[in-house]
Structure formats: structure tokens, C-alpha cells
Symmetry: C2
Subunit: 208 residues, 2 copies
């Protein structure tokens, strides 16, 4: 299957945007990496900004589309299964991008956007986090009942979310210091299992 010029640009641009960020990435860099003429970005995408938007949208789409929370946290499940489902969803959203093309470009772009969100990204994040907040709250409540304050329940949700998301931001340094392994499918499974049981123990301990 032959690579079209359009695809070559998208691929190179993902790398460069991921490496350097939108601003520092230059059109000349991208075209050089793609091995195409400099004018072709404007020919195919109208502008650098629209090229970036297309890349970013596809990332958001694959993150949001692939792992709907309702598939992994369902009413008929036990509370333990729901907890694990929540962890699975978040870990896959965070690291599901990593595999594609063996490149961390997409993951880098997403991390950047989470630190310095555009308006669109900000809205998207608020929506996603709100969803996780609500589902997490319900699960925590199933474990600890109604004696715990809502505020404290939300802190529990945050602890679970934090365990899943933090490695996404700091993966490079964490791997270098051996606190985390390469996010392969197998290692992700092990991490899911760990975060699940760590959190399960925490929740069970909180209730007594």
C-alpha cells in the first residue's frame, strides 16, 4: 500500500508536533521530514493550523471513540468489576494511542494539549472528567456507603484517576528511572491489575 503525499505529511507532522509542540514545529521541518515540497502543506491542508487540527481531531476521536465508559462499567456488574472497568477505560484511553505506528507522537500531542488546552480541548476534557467523576462517585459509594462525605468520596475518585493518568504525563522519566515499563499491551494489563487491587484495598480499608 503506497503512502500518499497527504499521509506522508500527516505522519511527519505528528512526529514533529509531538516532539516540539505546535509553535516550535516549523512547516519547513515537517516537509523536510516528510520529504515533500514546502508548499504542499498549504496545498493539502490550507494552513499549518488546519493540518494540526486534523491531526488533533483524529487523536481525540480515537481516544474518545474507542473506549466508551458505558461498555466497561455496566449496571449488572459487581462493584469490583465496575472498579476494574473504570481502571481499564482510563488506562486504555491514556495509553491506547501509544501502539499506533510504534510512535509516541500522538501521546505527546495529547499530553501537551492537556497541559495547555485549546478551548475545544478544554471543553472536551471537562466533559470526559465530569463523566469519570460521576461514574467514579457511584462506584466509590457502592464500596463505602453513605457515611463518607461527598468531598471525601471525590478525593477517592481522584486517587484512582491519578494513578491511571500520571504515568501518561511522565512516562519518559518514569521509564528512565525504572518506575514504569514500556507501555506494551502486557505491561498495561499488569498495571491495570495493580491499580485495581491497590484501589480495592484502599476502598475496603476506608469502609471499616
Amino acid at each position: 500500500m503506497k503512502k500518499t503525499t497527504r499521509m506522508k505529511i500527516l505522519e511527519a507532522a505528528s512526529e514533529v508536533f509531538g516532539d516540539k509542540g505546535y509553535r516550535a514545529a516549523t512547516v519547513r521541518d515537517i516537509c523536510k521530514k516528510a520529504g515533500v515540497n514546502q508548499a504542499l502543506i498549504n496545498y493539502y491542508f490550507n494552513s499549518k493550523q488546519q493540518l494540526y487540527n486534523e491531526i488533533f481531531s483524529s487523536i481525540v476521536e480515537s481516544v474518545a471513540g474507542s473506549y466508551p465508559l458505558s461498555d466497561f462499567v455496566r449496571p449488572e456488574m459487581t462493584k469490583e468489576e465496575k472498579l476494574k472497568g473504570l481502571v481499564i477505560t482510563m488506562m486504555n484511553r491514556a495509553f491506547g494511542l501509544h501502539g499506533i505506528g510504534g510512535s509516541k507522537a500522538r501521546l505527546n500531542i495529547l499530553s501537551r494539549e492537556m497541559i495547555e488546552p485549546t478551548d475545544a480541548m478544554d471543553m472536551y476534557l471537562v466533559t470526559r472528567i465530569s463523566e469519570i467523576r460521576a461514574v467514579g462517585y457511584a462506584i466509590v459509594t457502592e464500596f463505602v456507603g453513605d457515611k463518607m462525605s461527598d468531598e471525601n468520596k471525590f478525593r477517592h475518585v481522584l486517587s484512582i484517576v491519578g494513578q491511571c493518568m500520571f504515568p501518561m504525563f511522565e512516562n519518559k522519566v518514569l521509564m528512565k528511572t525504572d518506575l514504569m515499563k514500556e507501555p506494551t499491551k502486557d505491561n498495561m494489563d499488569i498495571m491495570v491489575e495493580h491499580i485495581y487491587s491497590f484501589s480495592l484495598n484502599a476502598l475496603n480499608g476506608a469502609v471499616k
Copy 2:
């Protein structure tokens, strides 16, 4: 106490660098915000890069200098005290910056550097995380003994670290979705207490 021109520039530059990142922040923006002539950045700091370096170094210094791990995790402590000491250290390093000048600028700059580290920052991070890794490993071992594999122990350390650091990256969205409160001194104390007891329960549950 009168503000020197130098100080005005440093302050404005911190804001702008924090808001937009190094690249997108322009010398003209900074000088306008500081209310000084455009040439003065070069007069006082030689270049935009050196201005940034000075700001960044002072941030690193205050993070690293203020909370030495050895002050909060000491040999004579119980394992519970050590665990809490580790949490206190990380939370203060992450959010201790926030108070200064009522501005989140310094926190923003640090988050950015952690995502997209310069060489100097990379070395610094590796050093710090390695230290936390070693201390965390020792504490976890005190809780779970020697039956647990080292790899699993490190995953436990990562869970604790993740809870402390994640809110630093996503604080804006987390506050907007009510998963986190304004990081005031009081709220930080509550969060420390929570992360400590969440992790304590997890560790105690893991051992049995």
C-alpha cells in the same frame, strides 16, 4: 518597597511564560505587561533565553531546596510516619509554588517543563524521581515485607507518587469539574491526609 525594572520584567515574564509557554511568549508581550521598553530584556538579561533560564532556575531551586526528603522521612520514624512524610514532601513540592504572589505562573512553567523537559530539567527530574523511588521502595518494603516482588513494590510506589503529582498537571480542569479544590494550605493538608490514608489502606490490604 519599590519594584525595580528587573523585578517587573521577571514578574511579567513568569506570567507570560506560564500562560503561553516559552516559544509562544514574545518579548513584546512581556515588556508590554511589565510596562517597560522592549530593549530592556536584553539590557538586563542578555536574551530571552537567559531571562527564562533565570526564572526556571529559581523555580527549581525553591522546589528542590524547600522540601528535602530526608527532613520528612527519617530513620527513627514509624513506617506510617514515613509514608506520610513522603506524601507531605511530594505534595509540597508540587503545590508549594502556588502560593507565591497568588499566581499560578510558576506552577504552569514547571508542568510544561515536566512534559517537555530541557536536558537540564531531564537530569533534575531523573535525580528527584530516583530519590523518591528509593525512599518509596524502602517504605513499601516495611509494610509488605519481602514476599512481594520488587516490580510490584515499585508499582505501589508509582501509585503513591501518581496521586500526589497528577493534580499538579491537571489542576485547572480538575478544579473546574469539582474533583479538586483550590490548592490552599488547608486544602493541601486535607489532601495529604487523604492520600496518606488511601495509600495506607492499600498497603495494609496488600500484605494480608
